[in-house]
């Protein structure tokens, strides 16, 4: 591959509601040749500039993490919602 082709993958901060349109390539064609898969990943990041999420520095670890309100019942809710969706 030509060095000019090396791009930079920006921090992926894509609003959830925008993602269903772009995930198909990633999931349905996982065994594409490397260059095609890189292209699929780059398409995934094409709208990364539409930043709506906030990341903060995690005080314990010094890592940049998604800043959202945590819900102790989230795991139970995930399983319940998946049961309904995939029944």
């Amino acid at each position: 591959m030509n060095n000019d082709m090396w791009g930079v993958v920006p921090c992926p901060i894509i609003p959830i509601q925008d993602r269903l349109e772009i995930v198909t390539d990633l999931v349905e064609r996982p065994f594409l040749a490397l260059s095609s898969t890189v292209q699929a990943i780059l398409r995934y990041f094409e709208i990364a500039h539409r930043m709506k999420w906030t990341f903060v520095v995690d005080k314990t670890n010094g890592l940049l993490v998604l800043d959202v309100e945590k819900d102790p019942e989230a795991l139970r809710a995930i399983r319940r919602k998946a049961d309904l969706l995939l029944k």
Binding site: C11, L20, V23, A77
Partner: protein, 182 residues
């Protein structure tokens, strides 16, 4: 002594979401239960959320008996349900969506794919995990993907979720096929 910080890949989270997988890979559920109750802190990449979303979409397609269902044919309720599951994942206590401060380059991905022979999307996840590892004292990649687990060992400590439980549940459906069974 196992690390209390783990980096989980797509499969581990999917095992907790898709109903049949909950019966088939109970160690993943027990692992995420430990995260939810605060005994472990888990990190994952934002990219993983999108991969999960895509697999939920595909699974819904299979349920409807079609090989390929266009996005437009999903009902608003189905779209909202998929999105809601992803949002709930971000809300889960002690599961942190980590993003690299330093952008990951295509060259990094390409070099990693070439050097340890993993899929491109796994390379992206592994590179993200490696950046998290550089900030944390200890971090283990937890995956059920045997190839990724073995091939990533040169870069980061890796383990199967069963390493984090005392004994595998007797009613786990993969008890006869899982080579990591305890």
């Amino acid at each position: 002594m196992l690390p209390t910080n783990i980096f989980v890949d797509t499969e581990i989270l999917l095992d907790n979401i898709i109903p049949e997988r909950r019966e088939q890979f109970k160690c993943s559920c027990l692992l995420i239960d430990e995260v939810s109750n605060g005994r472990l802190t888990a990190f994952t990449a934002d990219y993983v959320l999108s991969e999960i979303m895509g697999i939920l979409k595909t699974t819904k397609e299979i349920r409807k008996g079609t090989a390929h269902l266009l996005y437009e044919t999903l009902t608003p309720t189905e779209k909202a349900a998929i999105q809601s599951i992803i949002v709930s994942l971000t809300n889960m206590p002690n599961l942190k969506i980590f993003t690299p401060i330093k952008p990951i380059s295509q060259k990094d991905i390409y070099d990693l794919v070439r050097s340890i022979c993993i899929q491109t999307k796994d390379a992206l996840v592994l590179l993200t995990a490696l950046e998290a590892k550089s900030k944390l004292k200890e971090l283990e990649l937890v995956t059920r993907d045997a190839k990724l687990m073995v091939r990533s060992k040169s870069q980061i400590a890796s383990a199967h979720p069963s390493a984090y439980i005392n004994k595998c549940p007797s009613d786990c459906l993969s008890k006869f096929s899982c080579r990591y069974r305890k």
